[in-house]
Subunit: 400 residues, 2 copies
Amino acid sequence: MDTQLRSPEPPIRPEGFGAACRDAWLLDPDIAFLNHGSFGAVPRVVLDVQDDWRRRIERRPVELMDRRMPELLGVSLDAAAGFVGADPAGTAFMVNATAAVNAVARSLSFAPGDAVATSSHVYNAIRKALQWTAARDGADYVEFDLALPIRSEDDLLERLLASIPPATRLLVIDQVSSPTGLVFPIERLLAELAPRGVRVMIDAAHAPGMLDVDVRRYFDLGAIAWTGNLHKWCFAPKGTAVLMVHPDLADRVQPTIISHHSDDPFRKRFSWQGTADFTPWLSVPEALAFGERRFGWDRLRAANHALAAWAHRCLVEHWGVEPVSPLEGDLLGSIATVRLPESACAAFDDPMALQLALYDRHRIEVPVMDWGGSWFVRVSAQAYNEPEQYLALAEAVHAL
Amino acid sequence: MDTQLRSPEPPIRPEGFGAACRDAWLLDPDIAFLNHGSFGAVPRVVLDVQDDWRRRIERRPVELMDRRMPELLGVSLDAAAGFVGADPAGTAFMVNATAAVNAVARSLSFAPGDAVATSSHVYNAIRKALQWTAARDGADYVEFDLALPIRSEDDLLERLLASIPPATRLLVIDQVSSPTGLVFPIERLLAELAPRGVRVMIDAAHAPGMLDVDVRRYFDLGAIAWTGNLHKWCFAPKGTAVLMVHPDLADRVQPTIISHHSDDPFRKRFSWQGTADFTPWLSVPEALAFGERRFGWDRLRAANHALAAWAHRCLVEHWGVEPVSPLEGDLLGSIATVRLPESACAAFDDPMALQLALYDRHRIEVPVMDWGGSWFVRVSAQAYNEPEQYLALAEAVHAL
């Protein structure tokens, strides 16, 4: 089947991208790894720095873990805060963005009649955390539907504004939605919501390293909290996220693990959440330096976006499916969700079976999921990816 | 000053202990490391296994983190549950014991008039978590005093039973107290409390690997939950603890990070708390195997206890201070807290200054703390320690 004819031209990868940089990671070269988005992938040099930290800690455990850790983590926190335009005093490390949303939501209290709201694009773990928190206080969990396709940023914004319940006391909204891979217009949303007095927390799990993030600006526009993973698109080891809380609310928010410093100011309060392996957090400066040194962050973001937008269009046209968002890619960052053709799904009992077939038969690692009753793939684009890998996916789905 | 004359004879260390095994760890050989209790110390072979896991995960991140992790963590969970005599179905990994107490306490709800109670020997982080939880629900946090010295197990038990407030809805009690290093008679306590209907959670942060633990028995006697760190006395990497919850309560307890499986049975519910570095947990089988292979767990516990009990008596007699617990050592495990002579404290502004003087001038790592207005050291005894290190501490305190 000659589907190639319908494909747009693949983007030219910048020098040093694609196969030329693949050795910077340990990723199995026999697998087309199109799922950077789920857990990231840690460069060898970052793992080496992490190893070095672990060995330093094991040489003098108490000196490092106890007496020097505040200073050492401070260096990492400052680097992380700087990277996303946040105030270091209101910045804390968390193990992941889900933990950060738990910390904020479970530190607040709600009353019967209050709504804890989010959209149908919410990440499932956040859904569960918000459902539990609302139920704890007898409040309502409201998940408003934003059906696909999303036709434009204006379309998304209008539907968002029309959907947020008036009783909302906490709105958790994605900066980049996990199942659907869409970049939400959070600055415009915040500006519109400010007069309504809705508390907005931004779940930016996928944003750092993918988008040009400016947390201070979101706070100026009225956001109360923001969290992003650094282990997805910032090359940090797994278990690395940041949480920023607006100064007005900083006194009320406790870590998920309340510990020694619960009565201290925000940064100190979050600095100790019990004994843990702090080496993922200590490796953040090297992870951020790797991105800049090897690719340049602006160049990397642009290249990843170009590849994701091309892959999106390419897969949509190969499979003849309705796109989730505009083909121009203006609602995309470095991930893109594409509806699977029904003919490909018919042979499988569930999305995981299809995902495993792609992995086992075609050595393609890509997530397949059910969203709103249809099946989708979500492709990621990272420096080490090549256009050929997405074309292989296009053909593999046809072959299933 | 010839204080040696008053010392009891040091215990003979078993073959393969002390200097003969020091190379199994990365610990700086120039420091007398008498603080295994705070953060443990990870053997080289366990670090190597952890490194191997990290590299396997980075080679195929989604295959390992997503599809295979439940099975891989299951092996570790079964090993951990078996080691402490617990039901694997009611066992979960947590990052540390503080997280486990947070998970249980914050999942319960209390009413005004209820007491959330613990003793004055509580670990400070647990104090803070319980205070916050009680305040959240308008309940009372009650910390009853058990002043030092403790003269016998009967003395401790009688005072405990007399102190627990009748309104107690949750009692958190140490199996081995952190500041005072005492082994609480938890089986006798549970048996006495059963008729009162008090919910008891056991904070066994220091117990696994130090004591012969039998979680099923504690549950049979009425405990609702038990948590222990594996990174202290079980040689696991930092960030490794287990939580067991009694089947009657298992449905109500959520992890500190509520995530995808909040509606599933206990073990699955706790199996995913967001993306993290799972390699500490994956290394548990090797950590437990190291203890058995190198020392034998029964032999190790006995040798560590003998050394701690001797060190306790030795320091008490050198310094001429009142012992915290009987000199026979029957309330001790592998840590011992000893009152510092006032003459040694007088020259320092705070306990940390004294601790740093011991470290900087004498290369002795030992925690110094204020408890109830007096200053104490807490020595740990682990396989790699030698009697000479405690004698050096005795002399160093005289020299301060």
